[in-house]
Amino acid sequence: MKSVVSLPELPLRKLAVVEAVEGDRAFRRRIMEMGLIPGTKVRLVAVAPMGDPLTLELRSSRLSLRRKEAAQVRVRV
């Protein structure tokens, strides 16, 4: 069964595909330039000690975003 959730809701290490990227313009532009665009495969690989920020794996690189902003990215599981 396929469902659309926001990035922070992903179970750890579960592969998903980016569905849509929203958020503050500069932030959105920067993560898109770094390859987080619709269709990109992404996994949540780590959560920092106090539950924030998160580390994602995409395009064989690792990217950390804060929970609040990562929630602007929707993914399909």
Partner: protein, 718 residues
């Protein structure tokens, strides 16, 4: 500052090769290999970001200048720091226009890294690609020739650390320099709508900017209300002031357009996923919620211990060498002002600069290893949440911690943060952490004025007070960050979202780390060092002049001649005490007295405070001289402690009560009375404004807190 002279005038008319690329793509290693690690380091005008220039010899071309552009993900910019890349690559804002642009592309993530290449090609820049990390990428690396054919520029595979491919890269650069052709290459087609928008925007571009679609696109994507860009004319701002949906549409079209090409045409060139199992395995431990934190704290303990214990023998050695050299000079030139000036003024100042070096070397060596291995980004990840609560950058943790050893290397370590606002905020609060120079002062005050009792028969009261002072310093630093970042417009700037790449773990290259440590130390000595020596000489003058008591209370010469030889040192010390009390510093102390009396201090403490400007621990020695005691730099002198306890106010009550002690402790904890710290802040911010602000706000804060503590204590009858 001499280094920030305009680059165009100061440098030769040799061809200029610019080196660009994402962070962590081996760009610095390549720069070091091309230039033989000899970089002229300056600042970009107006911004304290280092501008590294080197020189390389190219066959058939001769010597060329090589510019190392700070790592960047995109040419689109949001801050002045990010704007450096576009200015340097296009030769805008007074920069020299490069004759070739080498873009480093990490072969293990060449698809994503190519985004920057595509942007540069759209500008028609003379681009060539250095495909780095091919040894690590193995099968995942694309074939350079094929990749070059698709991109429309030359691609050379390089493993800079082993020198592989460097000769080929040199040949390719030489070829590019001989080829005058500049062609705009677009790998995606803007829609008719965007083309119209680009054409309109082009008409609003400043005359000295290239009038091309890429430049118009840059303006559309970068310029927006609230950005922190420099030199954007109002006319252009008006032209690109578009509704948010329109801007998003522009972003989408450009970025998705490029990625469509990259994913369809470039991605198939890599036949494998790169092997990331090492990073995957190591990260499972190092950024594990509690295990990672534990290891981080352990590492920080090692760093801290190294700064404290490791650097100590070296610092003492330097201290002894300079003291011995000073004695030699005084012996060689007995009684002369010149000998006195060289030994106690100049040499002491140079010695003070030299004594900072062991900690600077150690801290930067450690930071270099952390950065090059990829761990420093993990520190920012682990510390982001707690530091953000205080409006500090996650990477500010290490400088703050290093501040407990000494604020000077700690302030230099703020360089690991990219944004000026983050760096300056950290610099403004680091001096509040309890540096090791405060410890002798604390030991003297606590040892003489507080009882060596055990609370409840177990906890040592004096030890607890020391621990309290450390906690107080840290709390003050964090609170100050919180308040300054709200109250001070230049430090306020809206909080930016975190977008932090965690690079793959790699073995640090010692040669690069060594080069960086050498660069930093050299610049500390030449820039901040000069200022520290000057300040040290000025303070020496205040403390040591006039050479004879201005209005002697007795005929000292006769007094010394009269007493028997064994008692002479004592009379000489009494004379020296009177001389210091009547010196310029003594006069300042008396001038200061009305200001510091409400804190419970008298003018003799005022002299000590002047002395503490050289370095805080000098307070102890200065107080020793004020009270005519034997020179003692260790601060453990029992006689000085006795003396403090016996000292009386004019009305006969003891001067140094525990309450005065507390007031003095709080004052020392908060006031940034350290010329070296101020000198290094001046050097790192490139302005006089910040060190002056730092001095002013910490002095006012220290005065207010000491005042509150002393007066409250008095009301309570302490």
């Amino acid at each position: 500052m001499s280094q920030s002279s305009t680059p165009a005038s100061a440098e030769s008319l040799r061809p200029l090769v610019a080196l660009a690329g994402h962070p962590n793509t081996g760009k610095t290693t390549l720069f070091n290999v091309l230039t033989g690690s000899r970089a002229r380091v300056g600042n970009y005008p107006g911004i304290t970001v280092e501008r590294r220039m080197g020189e390389a010899g190219l066959e058939g071309v001769g010597p060329v200048d090589v510019l190392d552009i700070p790592g960047t993900y995109s040419l689109v910019a949001r801050t002045g720091e990010e704007q450096i890349a576009i200015n340097a690559m296009l030769g805008l804002a007074g920069q020299r226009r490069p004759d070739a642009v080498v873009i480093c592309v990490d072969a293990t993530q060449f698809v994503r890294s190519s985004h920057l290449v595509l942007q540069a090609l759209e500008f028609g820049l003379p681009v060539l690609v250095a495909l780095t990390m091919t040894d690590e990428a193995k099968e995942a690396a694309p074939d350079p020739a094929e990749m070059g054919r698709h991109l429309g520029c030359e691609v050379v595979s390089v493993v800079a650390a082993h020198g592989r491919g460097v000769a080929e890269l040199n040949t390719a650069i030489a070829r590019r320099l001989r080829d005058p052709e500049r062609r705009e290459i677009w790998h995606w087609q803007p829609t008719a709508w965007l083309r119209r928008l680009l054409a309109e925007t082009r008409t609003a571009l400043p005359a000295d900017w290239p009038s091309c679609d890429a430049m118009a696109l840059w303006a559309l994507m970068s310029v927006e209300p609230g950005d922190e860009l420099h030199g954007i004319p109002a006319a252009l701002r008006r032209a690109v002031h578009l509704p948010p949906e329109t801007r998003k549409r522009v972003d989408d079209e450009a970025i998705l357009g490029r990625y469509a090409f990259m994913d369809a045409t470039l991605a198939p060139l890599g036949h494998h996923e790169p092997d990331r199992s090492l990073t995957e395995r190591v990260d499972r431990i190092l950024i594990h919620p509690w295990l990672g934190l534990l290891i981080f704290l352990l590492l920080m303990f090692v760093l801290f211990e190294g700064l404290f214990a490791g650097a100590d023998p070296l610092i003492h050695l330097i201290e002894r060498v300079f003291a011995a050299a000073g004695d030699e000079i005084k012996h060689a030139l007995p009684g002369s002002i010149l000998g006195h000036f060289v030994a106690d003024g100049l040499l002491a100042g140079v010695g003070a600069v030299a004594m900072f070096l062991p900690q600077i070397l150690l801290l930067f060596f450690f930071l270099g290893l952390l950065e090059d291995s990829g761990y420093l980004a993990r520190v920012a990840f682990l510390m982001d949440r707690p530091m953000r609560a205080m409006h500090l950058h996650g990477r500010a943790f290490i400088p703050l911690l290093a501040g407990f050893a000494c604020a000077v290397p700690a302030i230099m370590a703020t360089r690991t943060m990219e944004r000026r606002r983050d760096r300056v905020l950290a610099m403004m609060v680091i001096p509040l952490t309890t540096c090791s120079a405060r410890l002798p002062v604390y030991t003297l005050i606590i040892g003489s004025l507080f009882p060596a009792r055990r609370i409840g028969g177990v906890l040592p009261a004096q030890g607890l007070l020391v621990v309290f002072m450390y906690a107080f310093g840290m709390a003050a630093a964090l609170l100050a960050a919180l308040i300054l970042s709200r109250a001070l417009p230049p430090l306020r700037s809206r909080r930016l979202p975190l977008v932090l790449e965690l690079p793959p773990y790699r073995r640090p290259r010692l040669r690069d780390v060594r080069g960086m440590v050498w660069d930093r130390s050299r610049r500390f000595v030449t820039d901040a060092g000069t200022l520290i020596v000057i300040c040290s000489v000025v303070l020496w003058g205040l403390l040591d002049f006039p050479r004879q008591p201005a209005s002697p209370s007795r005929d000292w010469k006769a007094a010394i001649a009269q007493v028997e030889p064994a008692a002479r040192p004592e009379v000489e010390r009494a004379k020296e005490a009177e001389r210091l009390q009547q010196s310029y510093a003594g006069r300042i102390g008396k001038l200061m007295e009305p200001a510091i009396a409400p804190l419970g201090f008298d003018w003799k403490i005022g002299i000590g405070l002047v002395g503490a400007f050289v370095a805080r621990e000098v307070f102890v020695a200065t107080m020793g001289v004020v009270y005519g005691l034997e020179p003692d730099t260790a601060g453990s002198s029992l006689t000085l402690r006795e003396k403090l306890r016996q000292e009386k106010r004019p009305d006969g009550s003891p001067l140094y009560t525990p309450l005065v002690g507390l007031s003095l402790l709080l004052f020392f904890a908060l006031a940034c009375q350290c010329t070296s710290t101020l000198a290094v802040v001046r050097r790192e911010t490139g302005s006089l404004r910040w060190p002056l602000f730092l001095f002013a706000y910490t002095s006012v804060l220290a005065w207010l807190v000491s005042f509150a503590a002393y007066q409250t204590g008095r009301l309570l009858g302490l």
